[in-house]
C-alpha cells in the first residue's frame, strides 16, 4: 500500500502521515457539524443525479483474459492513475494554499480534511459512478470519469494536508525574508512554498499513488443492481480471471502489476526523490542520498536544457517583470484611493459576501435535510443489521491491527537496529508493500475456499495485507530514531531483554507506532467494504459487517441504507480517532518524545 523512500530516515522528523497530523489539532464541534452538513448535501446531490440515470441500461463491455490484451489494459490503468494523481496534486496544492492563507475558512477546511479522510471512499462509488455516467454523453466516458474521480477522492486529502502543514511550518524568518524583498505571490510560491513542501508532497504522493492502485483494482469492475460497470484495465482483468478461476491469467496479471510497480519505482519515484533531495531543509549536507542515473541523464541532457532555455526561462522572466510592474504601479493607486470610497465598496462587498454565505447555507441545509429524510426509509431491522455489522467490523479491524502489530513490531525493530538486515529487507518489503492488496484479494479468496476457510478470515487477511505496512515502516523509522547512546546504556547496565524492551525500545518507538496504527486503522475500516463482500465465480461471498452492508446496499441500489451505513462508519472512524488515537498521540508527544 505504501512505499518507503530510502531517504526516509532523513525526513521522518517533519513528514508523517497526513492522517496522523490531523491528530495534533483540535477544533470546536460546530465545525464538525458544518462539515457533516456539507457532506450530507453533497451526497444528496449525487443521489439526485444518479437516480435520473438509473433507467437507461446499456450493453456491457467484455474483458478479455488473453495475456496479449494485458499491455493495453495495463496502459489504461496507468493512465487512469496518472490523471487522477495530476488532478489530486493540483487540487491539493490549491486547497492547502487557501487553507493556509485565508484565516476565515482555515478551521472549516481543516476540519473538512479530517472528516473527508475518515469517510470510506468506496461507499461513494455507486453514487459517483452513476452521476458521472449521467453527466457525460457516453456511458464509457462517464464510467472512466467516475473511476478517476473516485481515485482522486482517495488520494487527495493527505496531499492537501501535507501541503497545508508544510506552509504552516515554514520558518518565520524565511517568509519574512520573502516579504521584506517584496516577492510576489508567484515568486513566493515557486521559491519558498513549493520547495519547502516538496519533500512532504513527494512522500505523500507515493502513499497516495499506492492507495490509488488499491481503489482502482476495486472500481474498474463492479455491479450495481442489474447493471454491470466495467472498464478495460488491469483490475478488471484480474477480477475476471479470478472470477473464472483462470490461474494462468491471474499469474500474468500479477506479474504485470509487479512489473508496473518496479518500473514506477525506478522511472518515477527514484528520480523524483533524488531530485527532491535539494529541497531538504537542513543546514548540513547529509551523507546518504538516493541516486538516480535517469535523473542524472535528464539533467545533463543538452536538448532538454536548451528547450528549457527557450521556453520556461523567457516565459518566467516576462512574468516576473509583469508582476513587478504591477506592484510598482499598484502602490500609488492605493494611496490615491479616497477613504470614503473605500468604505462604500467595503460595505457593498460585505453585503454581497453575507448574501452568498446565506444562500450557500440555505442550499446546504436544504440538501442535508433531504438526505436525512432519505434515512427515514430505513427500517428498524435494517438499523439493527447496521449496528451489528459495525460491531463485527470493529472487532475485525482491531484483530487485524493486533495481528499486524504482533509481527511488525519485532520485525521492524530488528530491521531498524541492524543496518545490514535493513539493506536486504527494505527493498523486498517495499515491493511487497506496493502490490495493492485488492489485486491479491481474489487470489487469496480462491485459496481460502480451497482449504475451506471462511470469508471472515478472508476479510481479516485483506485488512492485514492492506494496512500492516503502515505499521512496519513506522516501527522501522522509530527503531532507527532511537539514539545509540540509549542503546549503549542498556547494554552497559546489562539490561535483560524484557527490561530493554520496556525501558528503551517500546517507549522509543511509541510515537511512531501510534502514527502507524492510526493510519492502519483508518485504512482497515475502508478496506472492510471490499473485504467483507466479494463476488467470485458468480457467487457472492459475504460475512456480517458494516463494509458488507455498504457493499450490499450498493449492489441493490438502496441509497438510504448506503447513506446510513456510511455515516455510521465515518462516525466510528472519527470517534475512534478522537477518543483513542488523539490522547495516545498526545501522550506520545509529551512523554515519549526522544530528544525533545
Amino acid at each position: 500500500m505504501m512505499k518507503l523512500p530510502d531517504s526516509f530516515s532523513n525526513i521522518r522528523g517533519r513528514e508523517t502521515f497526513a492522517r496522523s497530523q490531523v491528530l495534533q489539532r483540535s477544533w470546536p464541534v460546530v465545525l464538525d457539524l458544518c462539515v457533516a452538513g456539507i457532506g450530507l448535501a453533497c451526497f444528496y446531490g449525487v443521489v439526485v443525479i444518479a437516480r435520473y440515470w438509473f433507467g437507461h441500461p446499456e450493453p456491457e463491455i467484455v474483458i478479455s483474459q488473453s495475456p496479449r490484451a494485458l499491455p493495453q489494459y495495463a496502459f489504461y490503468s496507468v493512465v487512469r492513475i496518472g490523471l487522477a494523481y495530476m488532478l489530486s496534486l493540483v487540487f491539493a496544492i490549491g486547497y492547502g494554499y487557501i487553507a493556509a492563507y485565508s484565516k476565515r475558512v482555515e478551521p472549516l477546511m481543516i476540519a473538512g480534511l479530517d472528516i473527508l479522510q475518515s469517510i470510506p471512499v468506496l461507499s461513494f462509488l455507486p453514487g459517483v459512478m452513476l452521476a458521472m455516467v449521467a453527466l457525460f454523453p457516453t456511458r464509457q466516458i462517464g464510467v472512466e470519469m467516475g473511476a478517476i474521480v473516485l481515485i482522486f477522492t482517495g488520494q487527495v486529502w493527505n496531499m492537501a494536508f501535507s501541503f497545508y502543514s508544510s506552509i504552516k511550518s515554514i520558518p518565520r524568518e524565511l517568509s519574512e525574508a520573502a516579504n521584506i524583498y517584496k516577492f510576489s505571490r508567484l515568486q513566493k510560491l515557486i521559491q519558498l512554498e513549493l520547495p519547502y513542501a516538496a519533500i512532504g508532497l513527494v512522500w505523500n504522493s507515493m502513499v497516495s499513488v499506492a492507495g490509488g492502485w488499491f481503489f482502482l483494482m476495486a472500481c474498474e469492475m463492479f455491479v450495481l443492481a442489474t447493471r454491470d460497470f466495467r472498464l478495460p484495465g488491469l483490475g478488471s482483468y484480474l477480477q475476471t480471471a479470478a472470477g473464472t478461476g483462470n490461474y494462468a491469467a491471474i499469474t500474468w496479471g500479477l506479474l504485470t502489476m509487479i512489473a508496473i510497480i518496479v518500473a514506477t519505482d525506478q522511472l518515477v519515484w527514484r528520480p523524483v526523490i533524488a531530485w527532491s533531495d535539494k529541497f531538504k531543509f537542513e543546514q548540513v549536507e547529509s551523507s546518504s542520498r538516493v541516486r538516480s542515473p535517469l535523473l542524472h541523464l535528464l539533467q545533463q541532457s543538452r536538448g532538454l536544457q536548451s528547450l528549457r532555455q527557450h521556453t520556461i526561462v523567457p516565459f518566467g522572466e516576462s512574468l516576473y517583470r509583469r508582476l513587478a510592474e504591477e506592484r510598482t504601479v499598484g502602490t500609488p493607486t492605493k494611496i490615491t484611493k479616497v477613504r470614503g470610497e473605500e468604505a462604500k465598496t467595503g460595505i457593498a462587498s460585505t453585503l454581497l459576501r453575507g448574501l452568498i454565505i446565506l444562500v450557500a447555507a440555505g442550499v446546504v441545509l436544504y440538501a442535508a435535510w433531504q438526505a436525512l429524510t432519505l434515512l427515514r426509509q430505513v427500517h428498524g431491522s435494517e438499523f439493527a443489521t447496521i449496528l451489528k455489522g459495525a460491531m463485527a467490523t470493529f472487532l475485525r479491524v482491531n484483530i487485524s491491527l493486533i495481528l499486524a502489530a504482533a509481527w511488525t513490531i519485532p520485525a521492524g525493530v530488528a530491521i531498524g537496529f541492524h543496518p545490514r538486515l535493513a539493506r536486504i529487507a527494505q527493498p523486498i518489503a517495499q515491493i511487497a508493500a506496493s502490490v495493492p492488496a485488492t489485486a491479491l484479494f481474489p487470489v487469496i479468496l480462491l485459496a481460502l475456499i480451497r482449504i475451506g476457510g471462511s470469508m471472515n478470515i478472508g476479510s481479516i487477511a485483506l485488512m492485514l495485507l492492506g494496512t500492516q505496512w503502515y505499521i512496519l515502516f513506522n516501527v522501522i523509522a522509530g527503531a532507527m530514531a532511537i539514539p545509540s547512546d540509549l542503546k549503549e546504556v542498556a547494554t552497559l547496565f546489562r539490561f535483560t531483554t524484557i527490561q530493554k524492551w520496556k525501558t528503551v525500545i517500546l517507549p522509543g518507538i511509541f510515537p511512531f507506532l501510534i502514527t502507524g496504527m492510526v493510519t492502519a486503522s483508518g485504512g482497515a475500516w475502508n478496506a472492510s467494504i471490499i473485504a467483507e463482500y466479494f463476488r467470485l465465480k458468480n457467487q457472492t461471498l459475504q460475512t456480517v459487517g458494516l463494509g458488507a452492508v455498504i457493499s450490499a446496499a450498493t449492489d441493490s441500489g438502496q441509497f438510504q441504507i448506503l447513506l446510513l451505513a456510511t455515516i455510521v462508519m465515518a462516525i466510528m472512524v472519527v470517534t475512534i480517532n478522537r477518543l483513542v488515537w488523539r490522547p495516545l498521540y498526545r501522550l506520545a508527544e509529551t512523554r515519549y518524545k526522544l530528544g525533545g
Binding site: 521584506i180 517584496k182 516577492f183 516576473y320 510592474e325 502602490t331 494611496i335 525501558t503 509529551t590
Partner: protein, 450 residues
C-alpha cells in the same frame, strides 16, 4: 537635525491571548532613524527588540500608533529596507547566486542585469567563486556573508539586522563585524543607516553611533544616547570600558532609573513599570545557581559580574538569568554591577545536597509568589493535586503565552529540585512530592525516558 528616514510615533504592540485579555509587548514608543547613523538596540531577552524591529521595517503592523517612511505611512510607501537575520534565512534549495538574485527578480530586473549586480555584491562581501555553491555547503560565517550580500544587493536605504552575529563563533563574528564597519565607513555601500539588534554590549559599543536600551514587561525605551567615541574604537580604552560598564549596570538594574551617563547623553524619561503581580522568574536551573554561588564565594564573596562572566567564559546574557535568580532567592545582592553573596547564599554554597535543597526550599517559598501559591494549593486539596491549567490561566493575564509556558517550566524545575512538589507531565498536574526513596527511583527512569 537630519529628517528621519523612518519615524515611529507612539507605536504599540499587543498580542491577543486565548483568555480574552491581551498582552502588551511594546508600550507606546517614539523612535526615529536618521541618515548617517548606526543604531544599536539592546535589551534583555523577550523585551520586544525583534518586535520593534519588525514594526520599523513594515513587516508587522503596530497595534496602535503609526510608522512613517519619509513621512508617509509605511504601509503605503515604497519602502527600501533589508533585513539580515540571525538564522541567515537563506533558501537552501537556491544557489548562493540565486539567493542573492531573488530580491532583484522580485523587482523585475532582467537576467543579465541581475547577474551583474549579483556577482558584484558577492565580490564585495568576499564570496567570489562561491556563486554556484548551495548554502549548506558553506560554513556559518560564509552563509551570513550570503545573507549580507542578499541584503545589500537591493541597495537598501536602511539595513536592519536582528542579532546577525549571534549564531557565529567569536572570531568569525569579529571578522564580519569589522568588514561591515569598513564597508559602511568607506561608503562602499549606499546604505544610509544601519539598525542592529544585539545581545552583545561590546558589539553595540564597537559599532553604534547611538544605543537604545529596551526594558521589558512591556517593552519600553529605558535609555537612548549617542556614543561619542571616535572610530576605530579600542576595546581596552577607558571610554570604551566605561560605557560597557554603564550599559551593563542599566541592564542589571531593571527597576532603577538609568544612572548618569559617562558621556554626553540624550537619555529619555523612563515610563513607570506596570505593577506586576507575579515576579518574572528568570529561567535559570538550580544547578547553575549553585555553581555561580560557589564561584562568587571563591572570589571572596564579592565580584564584578562582568568578570564572573569572563571567568566562566559565559556570554553575559547567559549569566544574567542566573544572577537574577540568585538575587530573587536572596542568595546574592547586586549593587553597581557587583555581586555580593549573602549569609544564606554562603551557607548554600558550602552545604551538601540535602541541606542545599532545604535552603532552596525555604528561600523559594519565602521569595517566589508562584511557588508559594502552588504549594498552598496542593496542600488545600484533598487529593493533593492541582491542574497546571489553573496557574496557566493566572499567569496568562500577565505574560504572553510563550512566557507563561516558560514561567511554568521554570517553576516546575525549581519546585521539583526543592522537593516542594512534583509534576505529573501526562496529566499536567502539580502533585505532592513523594518520599525520598521514591524520588531516586523516579529520577533514574526519567533519565532513560528523557
Amino acid at each position: 537635525m537630519q529628517p528621519a528616514i523612518i519615524r515611529a510615533e507612539r507605536v504599540e504592540k499587543y498580542y491577543a491571548q486565548p483568555s480574552e485579555n491581551r498582552i502588551q509587548v511594546i508600550s507606546p514608543t517614539d523612535l526615529s532613524i536618521t541618515a548617517g547613523e548606526i543604531v544599536a538596540l539592546l535589551g534583555p531577552s523577550g523585551s520586544g527588540k525583534s518586535t520593534l524591529l519588525r514594526m520599523l521595517t513594515g513587516l508587522s503592523t503596530p497595534s496602535a500608533g503609526e510608522v512613517y517612511w519619509h513621512e508617509k505611512p509605511i504601509a503605503t510607501a515604497e519602502v527600501n529596507v533589508s533585513i539580515v537575520f540571525q538564522s541567515f534565512a537563506l533558501f537552501p534549495w537556491l544557489t548562493v547566486l540565486e539567493n542573492v538574485e531573488a530580491p532583484l527578480k522580485a523587482r523585475g530586473m532582467d537576467a543579465a542585469e541581475r547577474r551583474k549586480h549579483g556577482m558584484k555584491i558577492l565580490d564585495t562581501v568576499g564570496l567570489d567563486g562561491f556563486q554556484a555553491a548551495y548554502p549548506k555547503e558553506l560554513s556559518g560565517g560564509m552563509r551570513q556573508r550570503v545573507g549580507f550580500a542578499r541584503a545589500l544587493v537591493v541597495e537598501p536605504e536602511v539595513l536592519f539586522m536582528d542579532e546577525p552575529f549571534s549564531a557565529l563563533d567569536v572570531l568569525t563574528a569579529e571578522n564580519l563585524r569589522s568588514e561591515l564597519l569598513e564597508l559602511w565607513q568607506n561608503k562602499t555601500i549606499p546604505t544610509q543607516s544601519i539598525f542592529i539588534v544585539t545581545h552583545n554590549i561590546e558589539e553595540a559599543v564597537q559599532l553604534a553611533d547611538r544605543i537604545i536600551v529596551l526594558g521589558r514587561n512591556p517593552g519600553h525605551v529605558r535609555t537612548d544616547f549617542r556614543v561619542a567615541i571616535p572610530h576605530p574604537r579600542d576595546r581596552k580604552a577607558t571610554a570604551f570600558t566605561q560605557l560597557v560598564d554603564y550599559i551593563y549596570k542599566v541592564l542589571t538594574q531593571p527597576d532603577a532609573q538609568p544612572p548618569a551617563l559617562p558621556q554626553t547623553s540624550t537619555g529619555k524619561t523612563v515610563r513607570d513599570q506596570r505593577q506586576m503581580h507575579y515576579q518574572m522568574l528568570p529561567h535559570a536551573r538550580p544547578g547553575g545557581i549553585a555553581g555561580l554561588l560557589e564561584l562568587v564565594l571563591d572570589h571572596n564573596g564579592k565580584d564584578d559580574i562582568y568578570r564572573l562572566a569572563d571567568d566562566l567564559a559565559f556570554q553575559i546574557d547567559d549569566l544574567l538569568p542566573i544572577v537574577d535568580a540568585a538575587q530573587l532567592l536572596g542568595f546574592l545582592t547586586v549593587t553597581e554591577g557587583d555581586a555580593a553573596i549573602t549569609p544564606t547564599g554562603a551557607e548554600y554554597a558550602n552545604s551538601e545536597i540535602l541541606r542545599q535543597k532545604e535552603l532552596f526550599r525555604t528561600a523559594a517559598v519565602e521569595n517566589v509568589l508562584l511557588l508559594r501559591q502552588i504549594v498552598r494549593a496542593i496542600e488545600s486539596k484533598s487529593d493533593r493535586s492541582v491542574p497546571e491549567e489553573f496557574f496557566h490561566d493566572m499567569l496568562d493575564e500577565q505574560f504572553s503565552e510563550d512566557e507563561t509556558l516558560r514561567q511554568l517550566e521554570t517553576a516546575i524545575n525549581w519546585g521539583r529540585y526543592a522537593e516542594l512538589f512534583d509534576f505529573d507531565a501526562s496529566r499536567r498536574r502539580f502533585i505532592q512530592s513523594e518520599k525520598l526513596h521514591h524520588d531516586a527511583d523516579a529520577s533514574s527512569t526519567a533519565e532513560i525516558d528523557a
